[in-house]
């Protein structure tokens, strides 16, 4: 009964000073809006990362030679082309395998000379990594076996040579003293963080091994796992084949390592979590500032309405009834701010999802949580002004000018 009366009085009083009330809640609005936008953007970004990983990276495993760290038992055992061939020959899982020989060479074309990252690989390499050809073609198995001097360049290599990549198709270039014919250009992929595929040059594995680098030691082996197997199953199979190839006895440690992309994902998850925590912190500060603003306006309101409080007390309002009335007013003010904040935050988040092409999902718990938190801010900061009101002497308050 008294509660209902208090709520309607609170709403009336907020409506009577609408502009002032809304200005008071701005900090609450900003706080809640940033919480909602953050939670939304965070979960969408996470989902986008997860999706891209299940789409591509988690299906591609990379095998690297072990860096003989700590334990002396592990002798340096490089990966070789024959290791890759052994994986290809193993038919337990119908994976696709390409070793990768990587090195830096100078590339000369006409009067230009640049240093470039050279990758020697199998003809399956490009599709294993999910890259595509923009113009021309990738080399074939026949090109590889024939150790042909053909090359495919990344989309921005041409620019570095003061021409366009597409114009270079069919041209001869000099790569570390060997003449290559450019037969294709890849589509732009963008930097992956460690390396930029657009600035690389791809040549057949055996050409790289015999004519350019003079070694059959490879830097890594890429394995694309078919959808019918999990990365974990594939890792066990790779381990089995390579332990056999490397003559590793039972109980001995692997002298190679297999990376899936989960480490990378974990890192990204961690970064996202730190970022979110930071923004939640800012939102928290903003809500505190908002609470102080609400407290300030409530103190003004109590002073302005001293005579009304006196009257209510004269008519029989208890201290508790007055306390409740003003606390409810503060809480209502904050809840309104919270709701406006949820609307703003969701709109902001929606805009981001539209531009980023993300899925729009706000967890209901986030909405409820942030509005509840706003209410708690109102409760906390409303107590002091409400106590001030409740403790007014009725005889004095009635005659307050």
């Amino acid at each position: 009964m008294v509660l209902q009366e208090s709520i309607s009085t609170a709403v009336d009083s907020i409506r009577a000073n609408l502009l002032r009330s809304l200005l008071t809640t701005i900090a609450i609005v900003i706080g809640t809006a940033s919480v909602i936008a953050m939670v939304g953007i965070g979960s969408s970004a996470q989902r986008a990362i997860d999706d891209s990983i299940t789409n591509l990276s988690a299906r591609t495993l990379s095998v690297y030679p072990s860096r003989g760290r700590g334990s002396q038992k592990i002798s340096a055992a490089p990966l070789s082309i024959s290791d890759a061939d052994a994986l290809i020959k193993d038919k337990e899982i119908n994976w696709r395998v390409s070793p990768e020989i990587r090195g830096s060479k100078s590339l000369k074309y006409k009067n230009e000379s640049i240093s470039i990252s050279v990758i020697g690989a199998r003809e399956s390499y490009l599709s294993i990594l999910g890259y595509e050809i923009d113009q021309g073609a990738f080399f074939t198995e026949r090109d590889d076996l024939a150790r042909k001097r053909v090359a495919i360049i990344g989309s921005s290599v041409g620019t570095e040579l003061k021409t366009s990549s597409k114009a270079l198709v069919g041209e001869d270039i000099d790569l570390g003293g060997v003449t290559f014919k450019i037969i294709g250009v890849t589509k732009s992929e963008g930097s992956s963080g460690w390396s930029n595929p657009d600035e690389q040059i791809y040549i057949p594995l055996l050409t790289a091994s015999d004519r350019v680098f003079g070694r059959d030691r490879v830097d890594s082996i890429r394995v694309e796992v078919p959808n019918t197997y999990t990365p974990e199953e594939a890792m066990i199979s790779i381990e089995r084949v390579l332990r056999r190839e490397h003559d590793i006895g039972p109980g001995e440690e692997n002298n190679f390592r297999i990376n899936d992309w989960s480490q990378f994902t974990d890192l990204q998850k961690q970064a996202t979590a730190i970022f979110s925590a930071l923004l939640i912190g800012i939102a928290g500060i903003s809500l505190m500032v908002g609470g102080i603003g609400v407290m300030n306006i409530m103190l003004v309101s109590v002073t302005e309405r001293t005579r009304e409080i006196g009257l209510r007390k004269a008519l029989g309002a208890t201290q508790q009834a007055i306390l409740l009335q003003f606390i409810i007013e503060a809480v209502t003010l904050c809840i309104i701010g919270g709701i406006i904040g949820v609307i703003f935050g969701s709109s902001l988040y929606f805009l981001v999802t539209v531009f980023q092409d993300w899925v729009f999902t706000i967890p209901f718990s986030a909405i409820l949580g942030s509005v509840m938190f706003s209410a708690c801010v109102g409760l906390f900061f409303g107590i002091w002004p409400a106590r001030k009101a409740a403790q007014l002497e009725p005889a004095v308050a009635l005659r307050y000018e």
Partner: protein, 229 residues
């Protein structure tokens, strides 16, 4: 039987470092159904006496029995309960809530009494028709004349069937005609047996009452009963 029994009431205020003796020992009784005026110049202690009799304040010393209940020792919320049930206030400047309808204003004491909603509406409407305002129930104070506003305030004072109707300069903000109408309303209520205490400094208004108590310098100067005509 006395509704109000006041014995040797004193009230001291601390104003800065100085003690002000607003009341220096006041005793009187008011019978059920009396229509009484309390008069006195400003600074006489009239307002202090009114606050104590109206249970808005407690005396420093002395006893105050309201309906045979000792109330001078009560504090805070206990006094709020007494005010709610036993006393109906009418103020000089009406003291209506500006954004509430006449009916909502009248129902306010019932809300604090915890009366259920249906009863609130019924009693609120009854009180408004008692003061002749049943057609203006949904109007806000700004839509009512001064006389009408004061009648809403009187309805609000009556709604909880108080022992005492307490009117502090009820005609102070009204022109003489509406003031006269309001006084007529008080007479009607008095006819029905309502105990009324009128606080005023106007002789004309005080002359309407059966009995007048004059307060001066914190003491009763005179207590005059009019002979019945």
């Amino acid at each position: 039987m006395n509704v109000i029994d006041v014995k040797n009431i004193t009230k001291h205020y601390l104003l800065g470092t100085q003690t002000v003796e607003a009341l220096r020992g006041v005793s009187f009784g008011i019978e059920q159904g009396e229509f009484i005026a309390i008069m006195g110049p400003s600074g006489s202690g009239k307002s202090t006496l009114m606050n104590i009799i109206g249970c808005l304040d407690s005396p420093t010393d002395g006893t105050y029995h309201l309906n045979n209940q000792e109330v001078s020792t009560l504090e805070g919320d206990e006094l709020a309960g007494i005010r709610n049930k036993e006393i109906g206030f009418v103020f000089q400047n009406f003291h209506l809530l500006a954004r509430n309808s006449a009916l909502d204003n009248v129902m306010l004491p019932l809300k604090y009494a915890g009366v259920d909603k249906a009863d609130q509406l019924k009693r609120g409407k009854d009180a408004l028709s008692q003061v002749g305002l049943d057609s203006r129930m949904d109007h806000q104070p700004s839509e009512l004349s001064g006389g009408q506003q004061q009648r809403v305030a009187i309805a609000r004072a009556l709604v909880n069937n108080p022992s005492i109707l307490f009117a502090d300069e009820p005609t102070g903000n009204l022109d003489s005609q509406t003031g006269h109408d309001v006084m007529q309303l008080f007479h009607n209520l008095h006819q029905q047996g309502q105990t009324i205490i009128l606080i005023t400094h106007e002789n004309e208004v005080a002359a309407e009452a059966q009995r007048t108590i004059f307060i001066k310098d914190g003491l009763i100067e005179s207590d005059i009963r009019k002979e019945k005509l």
